[in-house]
């Protein structure tokens, strides 16, 4: 076993110097000092403590880290925070409306569409982007929209039903 008691801070080199970013997340403007090579996922989770956004692979293969950037689903593990100053970023924490759950959140909860719940945040924001553009998608359109989000628990059945239920609920509002 080898242990060091005193260590120097490793943040001194030029490559690691931080830049002050102004990010618009969930309707609020946040200032965060981050290295240029930090992904949006890392900034959201580590600097802004928005841990609702999860990670499953960190190389853009599973859809778990999906957030909305200017209304479009984006894999936050594949983009850098520094690229998105001025953009509107929405994470799962930004889905509630005035403290009440978004119809998608309610439908996912009521129908058992979240089992382990780990893929759920990414799927919810992807489904929101779909419903914002197309309030009454058919089943095939829902499947296409969610094809990049892997879920290992549900077999997608209840997820698709929940998106349909939320769409129906929105229609009745």
């Amino acid at each position: 076993m080898a242990v060091k008691r005193k260590i120097k801070n490793n943040n001194g080199s030029a490559a690691n110097r931080k830049r002050l970013l102004r990010l618009h997340v969930n309707g609020e403007t946040k200032e965060v000092a981050a290295e240029d090579n930090k992904t949006l996922l890392e900034i959201l989770r580590e600097d802004l403590k928005l841990t609702g956004t999860k990670h499953g692979c960190e190389v853009g293969e599973c859809g778990t880290c999906t957030v909305l950037i200017d209304g479009e689903p984006a894999l936050s593990c594949l983009v850098l925070g520094v690229e998105y100053e001025g953009a509107e970023i929405v994470t799962v924490e930004g889905l509630k409306r005035g403290g009440a759950p978004h119809p998608l959140q309610k439908a996912f909860s009521d129908l058992g569409a979240a089992q382990c719940g780990y893929c759920t945040p990414g799927i919810l924001v992807t489904a929101k982007a779909l419903l914002d553009k197309k309030p009454h998608p058919d089943r095939e359109e829902i499947k296409q929209a969610l094809a990049g989000n892997i879920c290992r628990c549900t077999g997608y059945t209840k997820i698709i039903e929940a998106v349909e239920l939320a769409a129906d609920g929105e229609a009745k509002r």
Binding site: V3, G52, C116, Y118, L124, R152, C153
Partner: protein, 791 residues
């Protein structure tokens, strides 16, 4: 048990933790952080089989930002999930046994620095010849070719042999004997959450470990053993787990190293595995080669079966001892089998160790049996459903290998799935390229024995009543998404006439919650449900006495309903639940109670009879309808019907969810998922893009039919739902491919290349090794122990 009108059980309620998961508020292990926390990474051996001559960590330690580096010498105590086969080390001491076997661990100020430090660790290896297949393992019998030194026969971890009933007689009576070989490729759980563990040491020489584990109690035991610390000084907490499927059931190196590094650095240490590491850490489905010989009469009656399995275990034992038994245990539970011989062997290979994945050791033999039955039915000119219906295991009977079957809904499952899928109109009648296939199966609702031999309960529940009427439930069970926290709330709410939202549930914390063995073997609903009902029963006695005195009503006229304790005959005479608790606390003092559960014994009393028993067997049937393209070999699943005997649907929404998830996972195994390795021991597809798993586009419509049998051993009659429904789907796909295009693929995954080879007559039958099995343990049902059965 008579059916009751339930207020909570059987209702499609949301899970108590569902909204937290939909708002992002639920904290998973990797969402936790602590002041002064540092980050750990494992240095993994890049060779499949290598002796470690020397390790140099000086350069890594000299890197700015590195706190500590440990090696095998710091944690030499061997461990393993099963006490009989503890052959793992937190960090390999003398030898690395698969590419990815951890050799050293680093703690540093950031993950990036820890990764840099890994590159500075230098290991001098003596490269050894790797063993990468079952055949190579069986051929490498020389002592010099051993992967482990402790096991009896070189590279055979365990070989077992049993003979139940008159097997020779059964074969002698046969009109036809069918002999087939099968191969079930290995695959992995692929939970979305990468494993994560965080350890904090202190204050007061106490260690706390948060880990994304399905089995905090077993991690607790392993930490105590490896660290040489009393269990009382260690606390293990499993936060909500982001998917397990069996892959987070072993104690792992990253958990042990997090603990050790927290102790040596005096800082909280967090390890989060990369996705690539998750593919190597694995412990998934064993690749299994199978040979099966079955004796039948002309009318299809089964007379005897001889089954052999060869499991490719990987570099360590893990759950393998249980896995090998499981490949032989449940053959007898679905159809009446008067004589049965089973021989199984698990070998060591220089690949990541295999362990339990959804269905643990039983999907492979089920694949073999159900395809062979399809072949038998075809040859004898009998509908495959009729072949099975004429010889189903009856309720309240004992199988030839000593398993007691209490209730079975298999007949109803077959009839209902056939009606829903319109089987008679489709089987052998659909146009070329389109087909239907059927299969059935059985699974356990919890293992009958614990992982380590003891006489204590398998599950404990503690309930505390607050004088404000609050109910708090404590239980060691671990919610991995299946809804085990909700099951506790439903049971307690049902007993006290409350709403599940009135119940607070604390689980999976070894300091606070009584032991539950963990979320494996589909045991949780049956065992924690029974324990919770027992704890509630003790409190209800006290509450009823106090309420009876306060209301001046005899106890037997009182009921718990709608948040009250009230008179059955004059419902207006009532106390609120809170008033009742107050009265009882005034009379009896602080209110709390415990309940516990231990599974009943089975008649089998031979060595090896511990694997297979359960409180109750679940049964499933599936029909798959698919299209198969003769030009491309592509399969498109049109629809899957699944019927599942769940005893009682505790919450039909959750049972459906478990069933649909099982079907989905089965489909991945049937069509695309495989955990395969290159000649250099490296994984062929250690990424989610290359290791294909079904997306929304490949997952078909699933029609779920729940069959209820109300099992006397289950809480409110419930059995399992989380694993069993996976089993019939895989062989049903293979049988449907045959119905569609007339070729048999006797292995999974059934990929287009295999179909095209089969269509061109180039598909090679599976070869199964020859092996000198030990002399069989012989046993007859009459030799068993008497078992008390619940009515």
């Amino acid at each position: 048990m008579s059916r009751r009108n339930f207020s909570v059980i059987g209702k499609p309620l949301p899970k108590i933790d569902a909204m937290g998961k939909c708002t992002g508020e639920t904290p998973y292990a990797n969402d936790l952080e602590f002041p002064r926390m540092c980050y750990g990474k494992l240095f993994r051996c890049p060779h499949p089989h290598a002796r470690i001559r020397e390790i140099h960590v000086e350069r890594a330690l000299a890197l700015e930002g590195v706190y500590a580096v440990i090696t095998g010498a710091d944690l030499p105590q061997k461990f393993g999930i099963l006490p009989a086969t503890e052959d793992e080390e937190a960090l390999a001491v003398e030898k690395a046994r698969f590419a990815g076997d951890p050799v050293a661990a680093v703690a540093a100020v950031s993950e990036a620095v820890a990764e840099q430090a890994l590159k500075l660790i230098e290991v001098d290896y003596e490269i050894l010849k790797p063993i990468l297949s079952i055949e190579e393992a069986l051929a490498a019998t020389d002592e010099s070719e051993r992967i482990h030194s402790w096991n009896r026969r070189a590279n055979v971890q365990k070989a077992v042999s049993f003979e139940f009933g008159d097997v020779a007689g059964g074969f002698a009576e046969a009109d036809e004997v069918f002999e087939d070989t099968f191969f079930y490729q290995g695959n992995t759980h692929l939970p979305l959450e990468q494993h994560c563990a965080i350890a904090v040491y202190g204050p007061g020489d106490k260690l706390t470990v948060w880990s994304s584990t399905q089995t905090p109690h077993y991690v607790h035991r392993a930490l105590a053993k490896v660290l040489g610390m009393p269990m009382g000084r260690i606390r293990v907490i499993a936060p909500p787990v982001g998917g397990g499927f069996g892959g987070k059931s072993d104690p792992f190196s990253h958990e042990l190293c997090a603990a050790k590094l927290a102790m040596v650095t005096g800082r909280p240490v967090k390890f989060t595995l990369s996705r690539e590491e998750v593919f190597y850490v694995h412990r998934g489905r064993h690749p299994v080669k199978m040979w099966i010989k079955t004796a039948v009469k002309k009318d299809g009656t089964l007379k005897a079966m001889h089954f052999r399995s060869f499991l490719d275990g990987g570099g360590y034992s893990s759950y393998g001892l249980a896995s090998v038994y499981y490949t032989g245990a449940l053959q007898t539970v679905t159809y009446h089998l008067p004589a049965y011989k089973f021989e199984g062997a698990r070998v060591f290979t220089n690949k990541p160790p295999c362990g339990p994945k959804r269905g643990h050791g039983t999907p492979q033999p089920r694949f073999a049996i159900e395809i062979q039955l399809d072949k038998i039915a075809e040859k004898l000119g009998i509908d495959p459903l009729d072949l099975r219906l004429k010889q189903l295991v009856e309720p309240n009977t004992v199988t030839v290998n000593g398993l007691r079957v209490s209730t079975t809904g298999l007949r109803e499952c077959i009839e209902k799935v056939a009606a829903a899928a319109d089987w008679k109109k489709k089987f052998r009648k659909l146009p070329d390229g389109r087909g239907v296939g059927f299969a059935a199966s059985a699974y356990i609702s919890g293992a009958g024995l614990p992982i380590y031999w003891n006489k204590m309960p398998h599950s404990g529940v503690q309930i505390r009543l607050d004088r404000g009427g609050g109910v708090t439930v404590f239980c060691g069970s671990t919610d991995i998404g299946q809804g085990s926290d909700s099951i506790l709330a439903y049971a307690v709410a049902e007993e006290f006439g409350l709403s599940p939202n009135d119940i607070r549930v604390f689980t999976a914390d070894t300091d606070l919650t009584p032991v539950d063995l963990g979320s494996y073997s589909s045991r949780v609903t049956v065992m924690t449900g029974n324990a919770a009902i027992q704890a509630c029963g003790k409190l209800k006695t006290i509450l009823l006495q106090a309420a009876g005195e306060a209301l001046e009503i005899p106890g037997d006229d009182l009921e718990f309903a709608e948040g009250k304790v009230r008179s059955r005959s004059y419902p207006k005479k009532a106390l609120s639940f809170a008033e009742c608790v107050e009265a009882a606390e005034a009379k009896n003092g602080t209110l709390g109670a415990t309940g516990s559960y231990r599974p009943p014994r089975h008649p089998g009393n031979y060595k090896g009879a511990g694997v297979g028993p359960t409180p109750a067997y679940s049964f499933s049937t599936s029909i798959v309808e698919l299209q198969c393209d003769r030009d491309t070999g592509e399969i498109k699943i049109e629809k899957i019907w699944i019927a599942h005997d769940c005893g009682t649907a505790f919450n039909p929404l959750l049972v459906e969810g478990q069933t649909e998830g099982s079907v989905y996972m089965a489909l991945g195994e049937a069509l695309m998922e495989e955990q395969v390795f290159r000649k250099n021991g490296l994984h062929k597809f250690p990424s989610m893009l290359d290791y294909k798993s079904p997306t929304t586009l490949e997952t078909p419509e699933i029609e779920t039919i729940l069959v209820e049998t109300n099992d006397p051993e289950g809480p409110y009659g419930a059995k399992e739902a989380g694993q069993g429904p996976l089993l019939p789907v895989v062989p049903a796909v293979a049988n449907a491919v045959y119905d569609a295009i007339g070729v048999r693929i006797d292995e999974v995954p059934i990929t287009p290349d295999k179909i095209l080879r089969a269509l061109e007559g180039r598909y090679k039958r599976i070869t199964v090794p020859t092996f000198d099995f030990p002399a069989p343990i012989k046993w007859q049902p009459g030799e068993g122990i008497e078992v008390q059965q619940k009515a």
